[in-house]
Symmetry: C2
Subunit: 156 residues, 2 copies
């Protein structure tokens, strides 16, 4: 377990398109439970699957418990237990001592690109790549659980 | 994962009290989600912890996915994520080629003793010990998830 401290930003699409990035991984995530203080998520990638419990958010921190499970079971759980889902391509970008996780959303969230950085403390200092723009850490619409039920294409 | 096929019976308290049983294990179980077709449960015993997903019941069968997790995390999840819980002492009783799981409930379910047998098929043949009485397999009140919100002491 642990406390997850994360900051989240929007991405400049033009600079991101021009950026020389590594290969991405397809993530399919389903939400088994999602309320204000508790999320139970199943994540399936090309090569692994995880079941994850996340607690309520306090500022940019939340408790998190994550367990790897067999991928075939992850697929079955995604089909049988999730009530909403998202799909995205995840890129891991090392930059000045931190790793940025950039999510390029697909499906009903196509057009949205979000960059996250996980920190050791809420006050941790970090530098931003030039394709990182506005911070949205405390805007609940950008949580993946929220995007699974209120997707980007419905905003406005 | 698998399909869980289970039959459930009440227990004769007097015969059970006289029965020469092995040591039991204390089980604390919390329900993170429990609706008609999906249950997410955390189980913590003296020596282990599990997170378990169960699908909807069809007759006496239901899908089940169970993962062992670190016990300290199990305790934290029980505290932080469960909305209802039960406590019981579990006895495993080998009998004529099957293992009976006998649950002696505590707290608000004290006074209830239930014996379960897990089967390979719905038609499997088995013999009952003499302390096994009325079948309650299809009575939803006896699921542990239901007992956590509608405990035995409130019945009638």
């Amino acid at each position: 377990m642990g406390i997850e401290i994360e900051r989240k930003f929007l991405v400049d699409h033009i600079k991101w398109a021009a950026f020389n990035k590594p290969e991405g991984n397809v993530y399919r995530q389903g939400y088994i439970l999602s309320d204000v203080s508790r999320t139970v998520r199943i994540r399936v990638t090309n090569k692994s699957a995880f079941i994850t419990l996340k607690g309520g958010t306090t500022g940019i921190s939340r408790s998190e418990f994550e367990y790897e499970i067999p991928i075939a079971e992850g697929i079955e759980i995604l089909k049988g237990f999730a009530v909403s889902s998202i799909e995205k391509v995840r890129y891991n970008i090392p930059y000045k001592g931190h790793t940025w996780e950039v999510d390029v959303f697909e499906g009903d969230n196509a057009g949205l690109i979000v960059a996250e950085i996980e920190l050791q403390s809420e006050e941790a200092i970090f530098e931003k790549p030039d394709w990182v723009t506005k911070e949205v850490s405390e805007d609940g619409r950008y949580t993946n659980a929220s995007l699974s039920v209120n997707p980007f294409k419905n905003w406005n």
